[in-house]
Point group: C2
DNA sequence: GAAGATTGAACGCTCAATCTTC
DNA sequence: GAAGATTGAGCGTTCAATCTTC
């Protein structure tokens, strides 16, 4: 972990003063990832909060449940699917349960576990993904979409092999 | 804002049950944006916190200052550059000032404003962007980099024109 | 002792309110 | 009254601790 990164494929340079000088493209890609994420999530959050009183994470959770077998997932599995911590997921489920969008149900085999079941009302809410499409997919063509999918898949892959 | 989004370029469909069925690629691109951002920022944050006791946002701020004219920016400008709120930026500057990495300086023309000046120590810290490169750029080729830059530029553009 | 889940504490961030200067 | 900046309140999130069941 502490060895110097070997600069091979990256055409940016470090100036005499030691400050990294990135190319325009590098800067755009890096700040773009940050900015795009910020812009999209912020817009969605505002919209979802205003229209449905739901946070983006809550909607993500509903979406994962809607796509799951039998429309239910164990809490830990839901946390894994959304990428959130288990504790946060538990609180989101608290919230969604109060709204009647999900139900906590015991698991037959394992008394420790809880299954989060999407209700009919929750299923209806999960439908409203149009805002995602509007903000995101509408602005991409097929090739760009494919590149994003590929690149993100690689970036989120298990480990930076060979490091 | 409340009109139905027109589905034109997007080859995903909405099933009979009203739940959006995305293509594999769509799902990968969308969850990829979320997951990639989460994975990268989380890894960087852990690393920076452990090695330098700095949050990612703090490092971003240092980087913006390092790249700025005279290595200083007004607080509001710094907030705009980093995409953070002014209040958060003010607190980050508090923190960085305690560490001696930046200084608050009055502005000649305008007594309301404050200029945030990068110190020599801060400049040294700003150098350590290697982790960004390692986690991010090392895994991309030139074409992918260009696509990311293009796409992110469009996604963060002023407004989804015509909506 | 490990795994699933919940709760308390702390951090990062935004929003609203306030103060000062234009 | 608007703009630059700071402060207080509150939300979303993670980490550590706890409880129950395997």
């Amino acid at each position: 972990m502490s060895d110097r990164p070997s600069i091979e494929r990256c055409p940016y340079v470090v100036g005499d003063d030691g400050v990294a000088r990135w190319t325009e493209t590098h800067a755009a890609a890096w700040t773009g990832l940050l900015d795009a994420h910020r812009a999209i999530t912020r817009a969605l959050e505002t919209e979802l909060e205003a229209e449905h009183g739901l946070s983006l994470s809550s909607v993500e959770a509903l979406g994962r449940l809607a796509g799951a077998e039998q429309r239910r997932l164990r809490l830990t599995a839901l946390a894994g699917a959304t990428g959130l911590s288990v504790s946060r997921t538990s609180r989101i489920v608290d919230f969604l349960e109060q709204r009647g969008l999900v139900e906590r149900r015991p698991v037959a085999d394992d008394a420790r576990a809880v299954e989060v079941q999407l209700t009919a009302a929750g299923r209806a809410q999960a439908t409203h993904f149009a805002s995602v499409q509007k903000r995101f997919f509408d602005q991409l063509d097929a090739g760009e979409l494919a590149t994003l999918a590929t690149v993100f898949g690689r970036l989120t892959a298990p480990a930076p092999a060979g490091s």
